[in-house]
Symmetry: C3
Subunit: 130 residues, 3 copies
Protein backbone atom coordinates (compact mmCIF):
# COMPACT_ATOMS: atom_id res chain seq x y z
CA UNK A 1 0.00 0.00 0.00
CA UNK A 2 1.22 3.48 -0.88
CA UNK A 3 -0.18 6.28 1.29
CA UNK A 4 0.03 9.79 -0.01
CA UNK A 5 -1.22 13.26 0.84
CA UNK A 6 -2.15 15.47 -2.10
CA UNK A 7 -1.76 19.28 -1.95
CA UNK A 8 -4.03 20.62 -4.66
CA UNK A 9 -7.56 20.29 -5.98
CA UNK A 10 -6.24 18.32 -8.93
CA UNK A 11 -2.72 17.09 -9.44
CA UNK A 12 -0.57 14.26 -10.77
CA UNK A 13 1.68 12.46 -8.31
CA UNK A 14 4.47 10.36 -9.83
CA UNK A 15 4.48 7.11 -7.82
CA UNK A 16 6.83 5.12 -10.08
CA UNK A 17 9.61 4.88 -7.48
CA UNK A 18 7.23 3.73 -4.73
CA UNK A 19 5.80 1.05 -7.01
CA UNK A 20 9.27 -0.05 -8.16
CA UNK A 21 10.44 -0.47 -4.61
CA UNK A 22 7.40 -2.64 -3.72
CA UNK A 23 8.16 -4.80 -6.77
CA UNK A 24 11.83 -5.15 -5.77
CA UNK A 25 10.89 -6.02 -2.17
CA UNK A 26 8.45 -8.68 -3.40
CA UNK A 27 11.30 -10.70 -4.87
CA UNK A 28 9.16 -11.51 -7.94
CA UNK A 29 11.34 -12.13 -10.96
CA UNK A 30 8.61 -12.23 -13.60
CA UNK A 31 4.90 -11.45 -13.56
CA UNK A 32 2.67 -8.41 -13.38
CA UNK A 33 2.11 -5.51 -11.03
CA UNK A 34 -1.33 -3.96 -10.60
CA UNK A 35 -1.54 -0.43 -9.19
CA UNK A 36 -5.08 0.43 -8.00
CA UNK A 37 -6.62 3.49 -6.45
CA UNK A 38 -9.14 2.89 -3.67
CA UNK A 39 -11.01 6.14 -4.35
CA UNK A 40 -13.73 7.18 -6.80
CA UNK A 41 -12.47 10.72 -7.44
CA UNK A 42 -9.00 9.75 -8.59
CA UNK A 43 -7.34 7.62 -11.23
CA UNK A 44 -4.11 5.88 -12.19
CA UNK A 45 -2.44 6.57 -15.53
CA UNK A 46 0.84 5.88 -17.29
CA UNK A 47 2.41 8.68 -19.32
CA UNK A 48 5.43 10.96 -19.48
CA UNK A 49 6.50 13.13 -16.54
CA UNK A 50 7.04 16.49 -18.22
CA UNK A 51 5.70 19.52 -16.34
CA UNK A 52 3.95 21.05 -19.37
CA UNK A 53 2.26 17.77 -20.20
CA UNK A 54 1.19 17.28 -16.59
CA UNK A 55 -0.66 20.61 -16.69
CA UNK A 56 -2.09 19.75 -20.14
CA UNK A 57 -3.56 16.49 -18.77
CA UNK A 58 -5.32 18.31 -15.94
CA UNK A 59 -6.51 21.05 -18.33
CA UNK A 60 -7.90 18.44 -20.75
CA UNK A 61 -9.90 16.78 -17.96
CA UNK A 62 -11.32 20.17 -16.88
CA UNK A 63 -12.19 21.00 -20.49
CA UNK A 64 -13.92 17.66 -21.21
CA UNK A 65 -15.74 17.57 -17.86
CA UNK A 66 -15.97 21.08 -16.39
CA UNK A 67 -16.73 21.59 -12.71
CA UNK A 68 -20.29 22.70 -11.98
CA UNK A 69 -21.77 21.46 -15.23
CA UNK A 70 -25.27 21.06 -13.82
CA UNK A 71 -24.61 17.47 -12.69
CA UNK A 72 -27.22 15.60 -10.64
CA UNK A 73 -24.59 14.31 -8.19
CA UNK A 74 -23.62 17.89 -7.27
CA UNK A 75 -26.84 18.10 -5.24
CA UNK A 76 -25.44 15.34 -2.98
CA UNK A 77 -21.76 16.20 -2.96
CA UNK A 78 -20.17 19.01 -4.92
CA UNK A 79 -17.66 16.85 -6.80
CA UNK A 80 -19.49 15.21 -9.71
CA UNK A 81 -16.85 16.47 -12.15
CA UNK A 82 -14.17 14.57 -10.21
CA UNK A 83 -16.11 11.29 -10.41
CA UNK A 84 -16.80 11.82 -14.11
CA UNK A 85 -13.16 12.64 -14.90
CA UNK A 86 -12.19 9.46 -13.00
CA UNK A 87 -14.49 7.42 -15.26
CA UNK A 88 -12.49 8.68 -18.27
CA UNK A 89 -9.24 7.51 -16.62
CA UNK A 90 -8.59 4.11 -15.03
CA UNK A 91 -8.99 2.87 -11.48
CA UNK A 92 -5.93 0.68 -12.04
CA UNK A 93 -3.05 0.02 -14.42
CA UNK A 94 -1.16 -3.22 -14.96
CA UNK A 95 2.58 -3.23 -15.66
CA UNK A 96 4.68 -6.28 -16.61
CA UNK A 97 7.54 -7.38 -14.33
CA UNK A 98 10.65 -8.78 -16.01
CA UNK A 99 13.97 -9.63 -14.30
CA UNK A 100 12.66 -8.35 -10.99
CA UNK A 101 11.78 -4.86 -12.27
CA UNK A 102 8.81 -2.98 -13.67
CA UNK A 103 8.96 -3.15 -17.46
CA UNK A 104 8.26 0.44 -18.47
CA UNK A 105 9.19 2.19 -21.69
CA UNK A 106 11.74 5.01 -21.63
CA UNK A 107 9.16 7.74 -21.04
CA UNK A 108 6.54 5.79 -19.11
CA UNK A 109 5.86 6.81 -15.51
CA UNK A 110 3.01 5.75 -13.22
CA UNK A 111 0.88 8.58 -11.83
CA UNK A 112 -1.79 8.83 -9.19
CA UNK A 113 -4.28 11.43 -10.48
CA UNK A 114 -5.95 13.49 -7.76
CA UNK A 115 -9.23 14.97 -8.97
CA UNK A 116 -10.84 16.14 -5.72
CA UNK A 117 -8.02 17.09 -3.36
CA UNK A 118 -6.29 17.90 -1.23
CA UNK A 119 -6.83 14.59 0.56
CA UNK A 120 -5.07 11.58 2.07
CA UNK A 121 -5.14 8.76 -0.47
CA UNK A 122 -4.31 5.06 -0.61
CA UNK A 123 -2.98 3.20 -3.63
CA UNK A 124 -2.79 -0.59 -3.50
CA UNK A 125 -0.01 -2.47 -5.28
CA UNK A 126 -0.49 -6.17 -6.09
CA UNK A 127 2.35 -8.33 -7.39
CA UNK A 128 1.40 -11.54 -9.20
CA UNK A 129 4.12 -13.97 -10.29
CA UNK A 130 3.66 -15.49 -13.69
CA UNK B 1 -19.39 -15.88 -16.04
CA UNK B 2 -22.11 -13.39 -15.13
CA UNK B 3 -25.11 -13.30 -17.46
CA UNK B 4 -27.32 -10.28 -17.37
CA UNK B 5 -30.22 -8.77 -19.29
CA UNK B 6 -30.23 -5.00 -19.62
CA UNK B 7 -33.48 -3.02 -19.83
CA UNK B 8 -32.54 0.31 -21.37
CA UNK B 9 -30.61 1.76 -24.29
CA UNK B 10 -27.87 2.79 -21.91
CA UNK B 11 -27.59 1.90 -18.24
CA UNK B 12 -25.21 1.02 -15.42
CA UNK B 13 -25.66 -2.37 -13.76
CA UNK B 14 -23.95 -2.80 -10.38
CA UNK B 15 -22.37 -6.27 -10.51
CA UNK B 16 -20.25 -5.98 -7.35
CA UNK B 17 -22.16 -8.67 -5.45
CA UNK B 18 -21.99 -11.16 -8.35
CA UNK B 19 -18.24 -10.61 -8.65
CA UNK B 20 -17.74 -10.89 -4.88
CA UNK B 21 -19.55 -14.17 -4.75
CA UNK B 22 -17.41 -15.63 -7.59
CA UNK B 23 -14.29 -14.53 -5.69
CA UNK B 24 -15.54 -16.14 -2.47
CA UNK B 25 -16.44 -19.37 -4.28
CA UNK B 26 -12.96 -19.51 -5.87
CA UNK B 27 -11.37 -19.95 -2.45
CA UNK B 28 -8.55 -17.60 -3.46
CA UNK B 29 -7.09 -15.86 -0.42
CA UNK B 30 -4.87 -13.37 -2.22
CA UNK B 31 -4.49 -12.33 -5.86
CA UNK B 32 -6.43 -10.37 -8.44
CA UNK B 33 -9.84 -10.52 -10.05
CA UNK B 34 -10.36 -9.42 -13.66
CA UNK B 35 -13.88 -8.49 -14.75
CA UNK B 36 -14.20 -8.37 -18.57
CA UNK B 37 -17.04 -7.61 -20.91
CA UNK B 38 -17.28 -9.76 -24.02
CA UNK B 39 -19.04 -7.07 -26.04
CA UNK B 40 -17.85 -4.05 -28.04
CA UNK B 41 -20.75 -1.73 -27.18
CA UNK B 42 -20.34 -1.91 -23.41
CA UNK B 43 -17.70 -1.29 -20.77
CA UNK B 44 -16.72 -2.05 -17.19
CA UNK B 45 -16.01 0.76 -14.72
CA UNK B 46 -15.45 1.25 -11.01
CA UNK B 47 -17.10 4.22 -9.33
CA UNK B 48 -19.72 5.16 -6.74
CA UNK B 49 -23.30 3.85 -6.88
CA UNK B 50 -25.29 7.03 -6.36
CA UNK B 51 -28.32 7.48 -8.60
CA UNK B 52 -27.53 11.07 -9.59
CA UNK B 53 -23.95 10.14 -10.47
CA UNK B 54 -25.13 7.13 -12.47
CA UNK B 55 -27.25 9.42 -14.66
CA UNK B 56 -24.38 11.94 -14.88
CA UNK B 57 -22.04 9.23 -16.22
CA UNK B 58 -24.48 8.28 -18.97
CA UNK B 59 -25.12 11.96 -19.79
CA UNK B 60 -21.36 12.63 -20.03
CA UNK B 61 -20.92 9.78 -22.50
CA UNK B 62 -23.81 11.08 -24.63
CA UNK B 63 -22.37 14.61 -24.52
CA UNK B 64 -18.82 13.55 -25.47
CA UNK B 65 -19.98 11.10 -28.16
CA UNK B 66 -23.53 11.98 -29.31
CA UNK B 67 -25.63 9.44 -31.16
CA UNK B 68 -25.91 10.06 -34.89
CA UNK B 69 -22.81 12.21 -35.17
CA UNK B 70 -22.25 11.42 -38.85
CA UNK B 71 -20.11 8.36 -38.05
CA UNK B 72 -18.94 6.07 -40.87
CA UNK B 73 -19.88 2.94 -38.91
CA UNK B 74 -23.53 4.08 -38.76
CA UNK B 75 -23.83 3.08 -42.44
CA UNK B 76 -23.17 -0.55 -41.37
CA UNK B 77 -24.91 -0.67 -38.02
CA UNK B 78 -26.62 2.25 -36.34
CA UNK B 79 -24.59 2.13 -33.12
CA UNK B 80 -21.26 3.82 -33.78
CA UNK B 81 -21.75 6.07 -30.74
CA UNK B 82 -21.96 2.98 -28.51
CA UNK B 83 -18.66 1.58 -29.82
CA UNK B 84 -16.99 4.98 -29.46
CA UNK B 85 -18.25 5.49 -25.92
CA UNK B 86 -16.94 1.98 -25.11
CA UNK B 87 -13.47 3.00 -26.33
CA UNK B 88 -13.49 5.82 -23.73
CA UNK B 89 -14.30 3.30 -20.98
CA UNK B 90 -12.55 -0.04 -20.35
CA UNK B 91 -13.27 -3.52 -21.58
CA UNK B 92 -12.08 -4.84 -18.22
CA UNK B 93 -11.12 -3.78 -14.72
CA UNK B 94 -8.73 -5.50 -12.31
CA UNK B 95 -9.41 -5.56 -8.57
CA UNK B 96 -7.04 -6.89 -5.88
CA UNK B 97 -8.13 -9.82 -3.70
CA UNK B 98 -7.00 -9.78 -0.07
CA UNK B 99 -8.11 -12.20 2.69
CA UNK B 100 -10.50 -13.90 0.31
CA UNK B 101 -12.40 -10.74 -0.64
CA UNK B 102 -12.37 -8.04 -3.30
CA UNK B 103 -10.32 -5.12 -2.01
CA UNK B 104 -12.51 -2.15 -2.90
CA UNK B 105 -12.51 1.29 -1.32
CA UNK B 106 -15.54 2.45 0.69
CA UNK B 107 -17.35 3.95 -2.30
CA UNK B 108 -16.03 1.72 -5.07
CA UNK B 109 -18.52 -0.48 -6.92
CA UNK B 110 -18.06 -2.47 -10.12
CA UNK B 111 -20.47 -1.62 -12.95
CA UNK B 112 -21.29 -3.15 -16.29
CA UNK B 113 -22.04 -0.23 -18.62
CA UNK B 114 -24.64 -0.95 -21.29
CA UNK B 115 -24.30 1.41 -24.24
CA UNK B 116 -26.49 -0.29 -26.88
CA UNK B 117 -29.27 -2.09 -25.06
CA UNK B 118 -31.49 -3.63 -24.16
CA UNK B 119 -29.58 -6.89 -24.69
CA UNK B 120 -28.43 -10.11 -23.07
CA UNK B 121 -24.82 -9.66 -22.01
CA UNK B 122 -21.99 -11.79 -20.64
CA UNK B 123 -19.30 -10.65 -18.24
CA UNK B 124 -16.35 -12.94 -17.57
CA UNK B 125 -14.69 -13.04 -14.16
CA UNK B 126 -11.14 -14.43 -13.86
CA UNK B 127 -9.51 -15.10 -10.49
CA UNK B 128 -5.71 -15.33 -10.42
CA UNK B 129 -3.93 -16.27 -7.20
CA UNK B 130 -0.81 -14.30 -6.46
CA UNK C 1 7.16 -8.87 -27.50
CA UNK C 2 5.42 -7.74 -30.68
CA UNK C 3 7.39 -5.32 -32.83
CA UNK C 4 5.53 -3.28 -35.40
CA UNK C 5 6.12 -0.41 -37.79
CA UNK C 6 3.23 2.02 -38.24
CA UNK C 7 2.65 3.85 -41.52
CA UNK C 8 0.49 6.84 -40.63
CA UNK C 9 0.29 9.68 -38.17
CA UNK C 10 -2.55 7.91 -36.42
CA UNK C 11 -3.81 4.43 -37.09
CA UNK C 12 -5.21 1.26 -35.55
CA UNK C 13 -3.21 -1.94 -35.97
CA UNK C 14 -5.09 -5.19 -35.29
CA UNK C 15 -2.65 -7.33 -33.26
CA UNK C 16 -5.11 -10.06 -32.24
CA UNK C 17 -3.39 -12.81 -34.22
CA UNK C 18 0.07 -11.92 -32.87
CA UNK C 19 -1.27 -11.98 -29.32
CA UNK C 20 -3.14 -15.26 -29.90
CA UNK C 21 -0.04 -16.93 -31.20
CA UNK C 22 2.01 -15.84 -28.13
CA UNK C 23 -0.73 -17.26 -25.89
CA UNK C 24 -0.76 -20.56 -27.80
CA UNK C 25 3.06 -20.81 -27.67
CA UNK C 26 3.01 -20.16 -23.91
CA UNK C 27 1.15 -23.42 -23.34
CA UNK C 28 -1.02 -21.75 -20.69
CA UNK C 29 -4.40 -23.44 -20.43
CA UNK C 30 -6.11 -20.93 -18.15
CA UNK C 31 -5.16 -17.49 -16.89
CA UNK C 32 -4.88 -13.97 -18.24
CA UNK C 33 -2.97 -12.19 -20.97
CA UNK C 34 -1.85 -8.57 -20.54
CA UNK C 35 -1.04 -6.59 -23.69
CA UNK C 36 0.93 -3.40 -22.90
CA UNK C 37 2.33 -0.62 -25.00
CA UNK C 38 5.76 0.70 -24.02
CA UNK C 39 5.11 4.14 -25.48
CA UNK C 40 3.37 7.29 -24.18
CA UNK C 41 1.85 8.40 -27.49
CA UNK C 42 -0.06 5.20 -28.18
CA UNK C 43 -2.67 2.99 -26.55
CA UNK C 44 -4.18 -0.47 -26.55
CA UNK C 45 -7.93 -0.98 -26.98
CA UNK C 46 -10.41 -3.76 -27.62
CA UNK C 47 -13.22 -3.15 -30.10
CA UNK C 48 -14.59 -4.27 -33.44
CA UNK C 49 -12.47 -4.31 -36.61
CA UNK C 50 -14.75 -2.59 -39.10
CA UNK C 51 -13.11 -0.03 -41.38
CA UNK C 52 -15.73 2.67 -40.83
CA UNK C 53 -15.52 2.28 -37.08
CA UNK C 54 -11.72 2.36 -37.18
CA UNK C 55 -11.85 5.77 -38.86
CA UNK C 56 -14.57 6.92 -36.42
CA UNK C 57 -12.33 6.06 -33.44
CA UNK C 58 -9.45 8.12 -34.82
CA UNK C 59 -11.83 11.00 -35.70
CA UNK C 60 -13.30 10.95 -32.17
CA UNK C 61 -9.83 11.23 -30.63
CA UNK C 62 -8.97 14.17 -32.93
CA UNK C 63 -12.28 15.86 -32.09
CA UNK C 64 -11.92 15.44 -28.31
CA UNK C 65 -8.23 16.40 -28.28
CA UNK C 66 -7.34 18.40 -31.40
CA UNK C 67 -3.74 18.78 -32.49
CA UNK C 68 -2.22 22.19 -31.74
CA UNK C 69 -4.71 23.14 -29.04
CA UNK C 70 -2.31 25.53 -27.31
CA UNK C 71 -0.85 22.79 -25.12
CA UNK C 72 2.14 23.56 -22.86
CA UNK C 73 3.92 20.35 -23.89
CA UNK C 74 3.94 21.48 -27.53
CA UNK C 75 6.73 23.93 -26.61
CA UNK C 76 8.92 20.88 -25.80
CA UNK C 77 7.77 18.41 -28.40
CA UNK C 78 5.02 19.00 -30.91
CA UNK C 79 2.89 16.01 -29.92
CA UNK C 80 0.93 16.94 -26.80
CA UNK C 81 -2.32 15.88 -28.49
CA UNK C 82 -0.93 12.34 -28.90
CA UNK C 83 -0.04 12.06 -25.20
CA UNK C 84 -3.44 13.45 -24.20
CA UNK C 85 -5.33 11.08 -26.51
CA UNK C 86 -3.29 8.22 -25.00
CA UNK C 87 -4.46 9.23 -21.52
CA UNK C 88 -8.07 8.74 -22.69
CA UNK C 89 -7.23 5.22 -23.90
CA UNK C 90 -5.34 2.53 -21.97
CA UNK C 91 -1.67 1.65 -21.81
CA UNK C 92 -2.69 -2.01 -21.48
CA UNK C 93 -5.64 -4.37 -21.75
CA UNK C 94 -6.17 -7.68 -19.96
CA UNK C 95 -7.87 -10.62 -21.69
CA UNK C 96 -8.84 -13.93 -20.04
CA UNK C 97 -7.30 -17.18 -21.29
CA UNK C 98 -9.53 -20.27 -21.29
CA UNK C 99 -8.69 -23.67 -22.82
CA UNK C 100 -5.40 -22.34 -24.15
CA UNK C 101 -6.94 -19.45 -26.13
CA UNK C 102 -7.76 -15.79 -25.69
CA UNK C 103 -11.35 -15.49 -24.53
CA UNK C 104 -12.69 -12.73 -26.75
CA UNK C 105 -16.29 -12.03 -27.70
CA UNK C 106 -17.41 -12.49 -31.30
CA UNK C 107 -16.57 -8.92 -32.34
CA UNK C 108 -13.70 -8.19 -29.98
CA UNK C 109 -10.27 -7.55 -31.50
CA UNK C 110 -7.14 -6.18 -29.83
CA UNK C 111 -5.69 -3.02 -31.41
CA UNK C 112 -2.49 -1.08 -31.00
CA UNK C 113 -3.44 2.58 -31.43
CA UNK C 114 -0.74 4.74 -33.01
CA UNK C 115 -1.21 8.41 -32.15
CA UNK C 116 2.13 9.93 -33.21
CA UNK C 117 3.44 7.88 -36.13
CA UNK C 118 4.82 6.64 -38.29
CA UNK C 119 7.21 4.91 -35.87
CA UNK C 120 8.63 1.56 -34.80
CA UNK C 121 6.72 0.38 -31.76
CA UNK C 122 6.95 -2.40 -29.17
CA UNK C 123 4.03 -4.13 -27.50
CA UNK C 124 4.71 -6.46 -24.57
CA UNK C 125 2.56 -9.53 -23.99
CA UNK C 126 2.53 -11.15 -20.52
CA UNK C 127 0.87 -14.49 -19.88
CA UNK C 128 -0.05 -15.31 -16.28
CA UNK C 129 -1.44 -18.74 -15.40
CA UNK C 130 -4.30 -18.76 -12.92
Amino acid sequence: MIGLRTSHKSELVDITEDVSSIVRDSGADKGICIISTRHTTSGIIINENESGLVSDILAMLRRLVPEGGGYAHDRIDNNAHAHLQAVLLNSSVTVPIEKGSLLLGTWQRVFFVELDGPRSRKVHVSVVRG
